[in-house]
Symmetry: C4
């Protein structure tokens, strides 16, 4: 019912968020694919040459996983957007911009073989991705008209987010002295993001059936 | 009502503008993303090397913002297109072509560290983007059958557009002697574009609800 | 009515051609955009350096126009496809493959400054694009169930197509001795394609209203 | 009827797989197009230089065909997905990741002129593409609620899949001693995939009409 109503209202106002989805999907698809397409080729046709590129493989696998996680969260979140308001569009552009910096830094981390400054900047960009995602969450869920989540749930969501953000900042600081440890901390943070439903715990879902099915 | 009617008519004629949206979104997504993906990497893994690339950072940030603004305006405008007529498609191709020249010139501006000719050509391409956008506006809003905006509103829209176009031309001329000043003028012009609703002031919006919500 | 019926049938069979559109639009968007993004930068920040790249500018403008024309025709044609049959999908892949060879040859033509072999191969690839488009036309319009166009109209369409194909082949042969003349002939052929409705003259259009509007 | 029901349920739960289609189509379009766009240019404007690049041409044509086949199968399979569950999304990411490794290996095979290790790794990546596709098949068709295919049909499907997987593994091992023979075996495997309906033989299709039409 609710989703039907939403659709109706959107159609009447004419500002459906569908082009925002299409544009975002295009950007995500390009970022995630180009990164893999621009992998350095080994210098000789041997396994040894392939294995020598280990910093490349580790940093690319981490970034692929991270961008996939970001897309899944983006997909979950934007289902709650009823309208493409200008503020939502700009929050989305901010998010996409920070995501599109990931391949640049992945390259830098791989090329410098996990040097301190590149790893620290990598953690900082992931921090930026999270900040812009939080802004997108606020813009999507804290609409003044619709009551999507209660104040207490919002508080829980914010506490969790600030905890994750602190972890990324910690990884950044750590990377200046122990780049490998900082990178390992970043990888651990990623695991916290694997389940989108876990991040929005008590939310009144308009579609409760879907969330549980995955556990069956 | 109006938007429902529009949808009905479009469906019967079979030439819905949806593939024009999809194609345009694809082109915008590629332009905005590739530009960031092709950023030059610093020569050494230090902050100093990162900061030395300042002409790159400034020109890329400006171009990203500009392309985002162009997309938002494109999104707002094409909602009024009821049909994908050949003339609309060709106006759209012209617009997309001029937009796709932006990364090429951004690169040139960054590489030459804001030399006169590249900055002047950059202002000229932004001028072209605006001219082709104006053609797209005329093609979309000045349909002979539907009365979307009144003659007086159209006159206002045109006066504003010619004012902006003059600013870009001025920036182009200025850039030959003072490239930094010309670039600064271009950046100022961009701020005028940030609010799409401000550009089409008195237009009879079929969806009046949406425009006001952003100010609440 | 007809288009409503078509939609109904498609929905029941579940093989709507929408993903074929989306995939094709993605491929066209990438081809047309990457070509412009990979333009060579002038060696110095002067107008002289920009003008010295004239073979690049001419070949890129021609290719952009050609790919735009191909997209418009593809868009017009696939509206008549009721279903994504495997044969339609494979005809489409063949068409997209030949289109995606255009940037490669455009580059070669530009780099060799219109040398005989690259221009001849360029004309040959445009010939291939036309052959695969003709196969796509046959696959879309000559369905055994629906009568979209009459035998006489099909004959007219084929005569026209073979005329165009001969022109491209002629340009190819001519290019071996007079590359500039061959290239000029290719450019003339393109003008024949600018109006998609002109290419399918007497076809019984299910949506007659649209075709005429553009002349008003 | 069935497809109408499916649509209804999906709309109520709000997790339609449409964005998964759009994202996947974007990734496929980029992979297949970029591969062709990044073809090496011949060193001189002659036929001889063009023909000397034969390892490039063979490996690119094989990869283009393979990715097209993978897309067609993906298109056929995902029509049976009623919902974008997290598990389906992650199976899809795994599939897309292995597909996006193809251009990297195609490049390596072409550059090394079909050396043993690159051809073996190429066969291994195609093996990975098949494994991840099988996981996607299980995730899509073996839903606990809907009975799409019977246990016996599933058994047949699995036997066929393991046979194909063994062929790819065999090609990989063979490539260490006879790279050309291994590559030829890979090409033969591809032919088995050309007909998507042949791969899911006795499946209870909700849309039986479509599958037969292609043979008429």
């Amino acid at each position: 019912m609710l989703s039907e109503n939403k659709k109706m209202k959107t159609m009447m106002k004419g500002a459906s968020p569908e082009r925002v989805y299409a544009f975002s999907d295009g950007v995500f698809a390009i970022i995630i694919t180009i990164m893999v397409l621009e992998l350095k080729k080994p210098e000789s046709p041997t396994f040894h040459a392939l294995l020598q590129l280990w910093p490349t493989w580790i940093s690319y696998a981490t970034s692929y996983l991270f961008i996939a996680i970001v897309w899944v969260n983006h997909h979950y979140l934007l289902r709650y957007a009823a309208e493409a308001t200008p503020r939502l569009m700009w929050a989305n552009f901010g998010h996409l911009f920070s995501v599109s910096l990931i391949p640049f830094l992945t390259d830098w981390v791989a090329e410098s073989e996990l040097a301190p400054v590149p790893v620290a900047m990598y953690a900082f960009v992931l921090f930026l991705v999270n900040v812009t995602y939080l802004v997108l969450v606020w813009e999507t869920l804290c609409d003044r008209e619709r009551v999507v989540i209660s104040a207490k749930e919002m508080w829980l969501l914010n506490v969790r987010s600030f905890f994750t953000l602190s972890l990324f900042l910690g990884a950044m600081v750590l990377a200046f002295w122990f780049p490998l440890l900082g990178f390992a901390l970043v990888c651990c943070c990623l695991l916290l993001y694997l389940k989108p439903e876990a991040k929005m715990p008590g939310m009144k879902m308009p579609e409760p059936g879907m969330m549980k099915k995955t556990k069956m």
